[in-house]
Amino acid sequence: MAKVEQWYYSDKVKEHFFKPKNFLAKDPGEGEFDAYGEAGNFACGDIMKMWLKIEPETKRIKDLKWQTWGCATAIASTSIFSEMVTEKEGMTLEEALKITPADIAKRLGGIPSRKFHCSVLADQAFKNAVDNYYKKLIK
């Protein structure tokens, strides 16, 4: 880190920070998504919201959108998480729940350890969304 020609964070963080994928630009329409979840970290002030579209039979993730009031690594980690779970035919909920913050950081080419707990919120927001999804199904 901190070589002048390189960026402050990894190139992968840079790519996803400047060109984030799958963020929700406007408020979702009624019934547009199947589940909603959120997570936040008061210490750092980062807040994350996440919306899911799920194929009812296979439980595959068809779409994932997010918004965050966060720093560069918060934006990049959420963006790459959204890419991980929706690429190819989309992960099943069960598969996606196994993704850890370490997996996200690894795919980003590493992030500073102090940033780990506060900025990697995608897995928490996702778990919250999946919880809400099943709660809604039981009702």
Binding site: W69, C71, A72, A74, I75
Partner: protein
């Protein structure tokens, strides 16, 4: 939006409160002291005498610039060391900092806990020594700074106690640039000291120890003038200060050099043990090129301050006016006028400061933020929090500090790109009301 990622050749530096480039004239003044006049000022032979003469000449010049005696100038490694020397150097006169296993002081030379007054928004180089002393039995009062970031002199008056040994208040704040009423505060401290002195003379003291002479002179008044030195009056007699910190790297001088002014009669216990340099208060071979550079930088910045101040105030007010008008929900932090000529600190709600800094860096502009996300501790700016504003203001705070190389054109460029950056970040922000 990808259109805003353009190739920038020119860099626009707007973080002069972090550090400044060297003034070419300062560099020229220093040039002689690397290869030619390299001697150790403590040496007896010619090379040593040459270096010593240069150091003493610089000391004399600096003393003249701040209306002090040359003996009152102690050269240090910078602002942090000077602040530490002022606080610990005074504190150690009153206690030995050894504590028992419960954390109580094993020896104090005055009855009751020694007391220090400072503010909630001091630089960490003052706050952390105060916190250190607090853990070792000192009482510390951290004064409020109000919504506008200015200490009220009457709050200092209310906080003064019989056992107050030191008051440390910055001349101008490093994050929001607000200027503190130093002459008013020093007058209050002086009156308090005089009253204490009279009271003591009228009755026999209960304190019979050797420290009583020093005790009588307290509280001392320390001022951190690092940010102020380039723009404000540094006359220590007019200001009425006993101790004052200045450093080189904020006034177009070199890094790694600073000074502590200490009024005659103030005994400072050294922080380090070593040789006899700087009247035995600060051991170590003098940083000769640094000292020459500091003197040169201080002379130039004091000489040119009025002209530069006028130029920068106009740029600052233009920048603030445009920014707060053109970016919705952006607010200036700190008093709009009683602030350094070069400081613009705004909170842009619904954005996070680190993201703005990284975007602007990519677009060729250097600035800084008080967002928690950029600090090692992940703590939000204690300065913005001290203004009593919600966490959101600290999270979205951005500081631009102008300097000699900045022009109106630079501000126009920032105002061309910043609204787009803010709009983009607000688009992906979970809290922004679209």
């Amino acid at each position: 939006m990808s259109s805003i990622i353009i190739y920038m050749i020119k860099r626009i530096y707007m973080d002069h409160a972090a550090t400044t480039y060297l003034d070419p004239r300062v560099k020229k003044a220093m040039d002689n002291f690397w290869l030619a006049k390299f001697g150790n000022p403590s040496s007896l032979y010619k090379e040593g005498r040459e270096a010593k003469e240069a150091v003493e000449k610089a000391r004399k010049e600096i003393a003249g610039l701040i209306n002090a005696k040359p003996e009152g100038i102690i050269f240090t490694s910078g602002g942090t060391e000077s602040d530490n020397l002022a606080i610990f150097g005074v504190a150690r006169n009153f206690v030995s900092l050894k504590t028992d296993n419960k954390g109580n002081l094993t020896e104090t030379k005055i009855s009751g806990s020694p007391h220090i007054i400072t503010t909630k928004f001091e630089h960490h180089a003052v706050l952390n020594p105060c916190k250190f002393l607090e853990k070792r039995g000192f009482d510390v009062t951290y004064l409020d700074v109000g919504k506008e970031g200015i200490v009220k002199p009457e709050d200092v008056k209310k906080a003064l106690r019989k056992n107050t040994v030191l008051v440390s208040i910055m001349y101008a704040n490093n994050e929001i640039g607000t200027v503190q009423p130093i002459p008013e505060i020093s007058k209050i401290i002086r009156n308090f000291r005089n009253a204490k002195h009279e009271a003591r003379n009228s009755k026999v003291s209960d304190f019979g120890f050797r420290i009583s002479d020093l005790r009588e002179k307290t509280p001392f008044f320390h001022v951190d003038a690092c940010q102020a030195a380039g723009y404000l009056d540094l006359n220590v007699e007019k200001l009425g200060v006993d101790l004052m910190t200045i450093n080189g790297s904020k006034i177009y001088g070199p890094k790694g050099i600073g000074l502590l002014y200490a009024k005659k009669g103030i005994k400072l216990e050294p922080l380090m043990a070593g040789g006899e340099q700087e009247r035995k208060i600060r051991p170590g071979t003098e940083n000769v090129p640094g000292i020459i550079g500091l003197a040169s930088a201080l002379r130039i910045s004091q000489k040119e301050k009025n002209k530069e101040k006028k130029r920068l105030v106009a740029l600052r007010d233009y920048f603030i006016k445009r920014l707060t008008a053109e970016i919705p929900k952006s607010f200036l932090n700190g008093h709009p006028k009683i602030r350094l000529p070069n400081n613009i600190n705004v909170s842009i709600l619904g954005t996070e400061g680190e993201s703005i800094v990284l975007y602007l860096d990519e677009l060729g502009v250097a600035c800084s933020t008080g967002s928690a996300c950029t600090s090692e501790s992940l703590e939000p700016s204690h300065v913005i929090m001290a203004l009593g504003k919600p966490h959101e203001y600290s999270h979205g705070s951005v500081r631009f500090t102008l300097g000699r190389r900045n022009t109106k054109k630079d501000i126009d460029y920032v105002m061309k790109i910043l609204p787009g950056v803010v709009e983009r970040l607000r688009k992906i922000s979970a809290t922004w009301q679209k």
